[in-house]
């Protein structure tokens, strides 16, 4: 099984789905010959032509809106938002339109659209090239939201998203693009939407999260195991809407101590909902208060290196929080 980079897994998913289904096409800013600002769509226009890999004018609401129209007409568009920071002009199209088309038409119309948007910092992107915007869309019924942490899941979840009959936002982590590589089968597989994944088995504490911070948790868990004999159980949500309630409860019940992590800021984040689910269902099985380790409640991270580093999660922050929880 070849080891490939996270970004290549995303591209491979699009390539395979476009080969499989003529209705699948990509539109976005700079997605054509340039292959996107990160290179995610590199080579796709050469293979599929400019009719199926469409360089769209710089106008996010039209990218989302035209994709929504094409999806209602029976196509399977993949709309690329250059950065999740820039998708807010498309928010009305995503929340008022895509999310509600099936419901408001009583199932007469549907909107099988995929919106890909890079999230996350650590690339010296400053305030507007670093944000995690998932909490803006989280809690909007009608949308599905996925955020893979591994190359394997990136390919499998994107293929699932493209085949899904409903709108799916695919939040890809830009720090993961080149940093994360893992085994990705050449063959056709999907990772089901709505299913969390146990990344590491453990019996002392549970860490629940999604996207990039899970890699810090994995590194910290190895050190805690070697240095303190603490075994962390790590759950990757993979899909943040709809949340895998059973998966969450099972992972928490395993240890009775839970730390929820994400890079998006703490207040009103996905972690708040995860914590609420645990509190509703498992409060009396907990051996410690629910902990959250998240981005700070400031508008966004600064570009200056000390400021960015101070903002972001890392292995050390995870390790300290996990150790503290284990000792509780």
């Amino acid at each position: 099984m070849p080891v490939i980079e996270y970004i290549d897994a995303i591209r491979l998913a699009m390539k395979e789905e476009m080969e499989r289904d003529n209705d699948v096409f990509v539109l976005g800013e700079d997605v054509g010959l340039k292959g996107g600002v990160f290179g995610t769509t590199k080579g796709l226009q050469l293979q599929f032509g400019d009719q199926r890999v469409i360089d769209a004018p710089l106008a996010e609401s039209a990218i989302a809106g035209a994709a929504i129209g094409a999806a209602m007409a029976g196509m399977k568009p993949i709309a690329e938002m250059q950065y999740s920071d820039f998708m807010f002009p498309a928010t009305n199209q995503i929340i008022s339109e895509a999310a509600k088309i099936r419901y408001r038409s009583n199932n007469d119309w549907d909107c099988p659209i995929v919106i890909r948007a890079p999230i996350g910092g650590g690339v010296f992107g400053g305030l507007y090239h670093s944000q995690c915007t998932e909490s803006v869309f989280f809690g909007t019924p009608g949308l599905k939201i996925v955020a893979p942490a591994t190359a394997y899941d990136a390919k499998g979840l994107l293929k699932a998203a493209i085949r899904d009959p409903d709108p799916v936002i695919f939040f890809e982590n830009k720090k993961c693009y080149r940093l994360i590589s893992d085994d990705v089968p050449d063959d056709d597989y999907i990772v089901p939407i709505g299913k969390a994944n146990v990344m590491r088995e453990g019996s002392d504490i549970t860490v629940i999260g999604y996207s990039m911070p899970l890699h810090f948790a994995m590194q910290a868990a190895e050190e805690l195991s070697q240095e303190h004999g603490i075994e962390a159980h790590i759950l990757d949500l993979r899909t943040i809407q709809p949340l895998d309630r059973e998966g969450i409860l099972e992972a928490v019940a395993k240890t009775g101590k839970v730390l929820i992590v994400h890079e998006d800021n703490k207040t009103g984040g996905v972690g708040a909902e995860v914590a609420a689910i645990i509190a509703e269902e498992l409060l009396y099985e907990l051996d410690a208060p629910i902990r959250r380790l998240c981005g700070p409640d400031v508008p966004a991270m600064p570009i200056n290196p000390p400021g960015e580093k101070h903002y972001l999660l890392n292995k050390e922050k995870l390790k300290a929080a996990m150790l503290e929880l284990a000792k509780y």
Binding site: A62, A66, A70, I101, R102, R104
Partner: protein
Amino acid sequence: MKQAGSVQQTHRHIALGLTDERAVEMYKTMMLARRFDERGQLLQRAGKVNFHISGITQEPSQVAMGFAMDLKHDWFLPYYRDYGFVLSLGMTVKELMLSVFAKGEDPNSAGRQMPGHFGSKRLRIVTGSSPVTTQVPHATGFALAAKLRGEPSVAIVTFGDGSSNQGDFHEGCNFAGVHQLPVIFVCENNQYAISMSLDKQTRGRICDRALGYGFPGIRVDGNDPLEVYRVVKEARARAVAGEGPTLIEIMTYRVTAHSTSDNDMAYRTKEEVDLHRAKDSLPVYQQYLMDAGLWTEEQEVKLQADIRATIDEGNEYAEKAAFQPVEDAFRYVYAEQNGEGQ
């Protein structure tokens, strides 16, 4: 053919490619829309329904639009005053009544949405929402799909003058212009966005904005339905020939308040409204048909009786019809497997 030397009068509708039957059918649809609209207002004032939003005096141009399109292949993205438009596309009074009463059988939304939020896949009428202008980029997307699939479909989208100021109008037009898509953008300029008169919204002519997107923009008198028909038909021909989009600005006037929740006398005068009401093209078009020998007083009497019966029947049916069961109220957030609830 008449003898050489005599002058043969060719009626306008024939010159435009409309048969006598179609020209008469247009009139019947306009009148049906008018009477339906009046009934909707009455029902709201009588407390039978919660809300009505009117398109009175805009119907002749709306119907003309519908008649200029290909119902088998085209896509229709109406806005909330388009009763005349959707009736010309095959929606029935009974279906509209079910929507007005918000009943379960309403094909537009099963009584989930306000009246005037049209949608019917069967009729290729695309589901719409309340935040205005979102349908404009959708029309661009439908046209994009038609182009990608090589289908002879044209998307036609309508919106008000207020909507022409939204970003989605500009973004949707620009995208369609760049990609030369088969789409017709129709601004039904009734000169008011709720209380905001046109001079508070724009200094220029809305049709002129097409210049900036690189396609034709045409202003047409909404009180001349045959001219509206001609302009839309030509725009459609350009679209299917691969010549790209057209922006059409239909000049009309909103003679009713914005909706049954609005008192328009707070911001305009009765004299102004009366002036425009007098320009109503429905009687003008009726007279045209009479002058052409296609319509008589007797036919008019019969039409009014038929329409009354159709509306009464739809009204009665919808009033008695059931609401969507509350057990189904939360269905279809997502696709359901095996047709069962989640």
